[in-house]
């Protein structure tokens, strides 16, 4: 239904998207996940025909965005990163304008606009100027205009940015609901959101696809065997020596413990369960085991692993940008934790550059 074939997009010297290839089928909710500056906004702009690829081909419903942009545009609803609002218009005027511009006949407009206003929860503020709306309402107006004309494909760039937690939940529910009737592709750097909504995730980093799968599949694929978090009482060097001496243990990575004197270790052991061996080995060495927790790899860690690998690989060529990407990755991981509302300025800047 939509396909990116070896799509590269350059802005002058900068390559925003590099030989990107992926497809989406009708009825999917596709999540585009990546750290700030990864090329998510550019990817979506390429999809909507706002930008055209430097090389490669983007097709939507079989139409090439380069040769048949209007056919593509007729079938999509697009929420750009920044809601494209005209501050001097009221909500209803704005919606009517977009509906008319999308080619809806005047007599059907009112009913259709009313339906959409109701759906995105703007019916109460329909007569207010867009300039006077709060960020959450502005975002809804942006989503509302994308819904006008009942497009088959919805393209939403960071739809929950800037919303308060209640609104975030509302918008997520809306996306889920919309995903039942049509195809949705949205970008996000918030992992739980992607995990909760998507039928498929595409992780991009530095303009390349680094992984694509269902959220569960990604987690499973990258789990890579048993991992435990353990804590033991005793000199850290001795604990470490004992741990690495146990047959089957592939690595023991030192982590900070509960107090500064204490340490914890992340032990990995491939497909062999070594919990019993751990217990006896530490006991025999007189190092009491204080904690033993099997670890599951969260999507967050999968993500971090994927995007930092990519970052390290590129570091030799572009020391500055690689460090930048890493810094951004950390930011994204924090966001993934719980602070859903937080979007950084860099993300916006990325949008403006493209």
């Amino acid at each position: 239904m939509l396909a990116f074939e070896q799509v590269t997009k350059r802005f002058g010297e900068r390559t925003a998207v590099h030989e990107l290839s992926f497809t989406a089928e009708a009825g999917e909710i596709l999540g585009l996940l990546g750290p700030n500056g990864a090329g998510k906004t550019t990817t979506l702009r390429l999809l909507t025909s706002y930008l055209l690829p430097t090389s490669g081909r983007v097709t939507v419903f079989g139409y090439d965005t380069a040769t048949h942009p209007l056919e593509v545009r007729r079938r999509i609803g697009y929420l750009p990163e920044e809601p494209p609002l005209y501050p001097e218009m009221t909500v209803r005027e704005y919606m009517t304008f977009v509906a008319r511009a999308k080619g809806l006949p005047a007599r059907r407009c009112r009913e259709h606009v009313d339906g959409v206003l109701e759906r995105v929860g703007l019916a109460d503020v329909a007569g207010r100027l867009l300039a006077n709306l709060s960020r959450g309402y502005r975002q809804r107006a942006g989503i509302g205009q994308a819904l006008l004309g009942d497009p088959d494909l919805l393209v939403l760039d960071e739809p929950t940015v800037g919303l308060d937690p209640v609104q975030v939940i509302e918008i997520r529910d809306l996306i889920k609901e919309l995903g039942r009737e049509r195809t949705v592709i949205f970008s996000s750097h918030i992992l739980p959101e992607v995990q909760a909504l998507c039928t498929r995730v595409i992780i991009i980093s530095r303009g390349r696809v680094v992984a694509q799968d269902t959220p569960e599949g990604l987690s499973r694929r990258l789990q890579g065997g048993w991992r435990y978090l353990i804590e033991a009482d005793g000199p850290p060097d001795r604990v470490e020596a004992v741990l690495t001496g146990i047959p089957g243990v592939e690595g023991a990575e030192r982590r900070a413990g509960d107090t500064p004197e204490r340490f914890a270790w992340l032990v990995s052991s491939g497909d062999r369960d070594v919990r019993r061996d751990l217990f006896f080995a530490l006991a025999a060495a007189g190092l009491p085991l204080l904690r033993l927790e099997p670890q599951k790899l969260s999507l967050e860690e999968v993500f971090l692993q994927l995007v930092t690998d990519e970052g390290t690989e590129d570091r030799n060529q572009h020391p500055d940008t690689a460090a930048e990407a890493e810094a951004e990755t950390e930011g994204a991981a924090e966001d993934g934790g719980r602070t859903d509302g937080g979007t950084s300025e860099e993300e916006r800047e990325e949008g403006e550059q493209s």
Partner: protein, 233 residues
């Protein structure tokens, strides 16, 4: 396209800038008209039209500067150019709204013709020809303003650039006087002021009309190409 036109019209009619400009146009125009009428004691608008053209040099870029630049500054171009509308329709919708806005402002100057009819016997043919010239001039100025607006994300820069471009067109005759050979011919051809003067004498020269219209069209086509190409970077 009508959706674009409607939106722009509305945007003009709620904008203080539009009313400010209209006020300035009437204030200065009224001043010029009165001074000329009292000074010459002749029921003619020739001088007024000469001055009105100069006012247009300022007004036209102000009317058009935000048309495309502001869309880019606000990020609404991302909506505008993902709507199922070709760039030329967007350009035409916006251009026609600017033309209508200017028309509204110019319509107010008909009062002067009525005043003249009250105090003497103006030559109506001359006045009609002058209006044709003024509208053609306005149409060209607005199209040039559209072009500069499509080239930047800063309305201010679009306005300044538009004004510079118009002033250059307006004063092309100076170049024609100093230069020789082909460059002089080019400048003479481009000299908007010289052509406009003919209208004020009551002559509607079709070659002048074709000149104004084709330059207007060229500016609009160029605007559409700029927008299409910017989108297709």
């Amino acid at each position: 396209m009508t959706a674009i036109w409607n939106r722009e019209m509305r945007s003009y009619l709620v904008s203080p800038l539009f009313y400010g400009m209209a006020a300035a146009f009437y204030l200065l125009g009224g001043y010029f008209f009165s001074v000329n009428l009292l000074g010459s004691q002749t029921a003619a608008m020739t001088w007024y039209f000469g001055d009105a053209a100069v006012l247009l040099l300022f007004i036209a870029p102000l009317l058009t500067m935000r048309l495309f630049a502001e869309e880019r500054a606000r990020g609404t171009d991302e909506l505008l150019f993902t709507l199922p509308l070709p760039a030329w329709k967007v350009v035409l919708g916006k251009y026609l709204s600017a033309l209508a806005a200017l028309g509204l402002i110019l319509a107010g100057s008909l009062v002067y013709a009525l005043i003249l009819a009250g105090v003497g016997e103006p030559r109506w043919g001359e006045i009609v020809a002058s209006y044709v010239g003024l509208v053609l001039l306005g149409a060209l100025f607005l199209a040039a303003g559209c072009l500069t607006s499509s080239l930047t994300a800063s309305p201010l820069l679009a306005g300044v650039g538009g004004f510079a471009l118009l002033l250059l067109l307006w004063l092309a005759g100076w170049g024609a006087d100093v230069l020789q050979g082909t460059p002089s011919e080019v400048m003479r051809t481009l000299s908007v002021a010289t052509r406009y003067q003919d209208f004020l004498q009551g002559v509607i020269d079709s070659s002048h009309a074709v000149f104004f219209l084709s330059l207007t069209l060229a500016a609009l086509v160029l605007t559409a190409v700029v927008l299409e190409r910017r989108v297709a970077r």
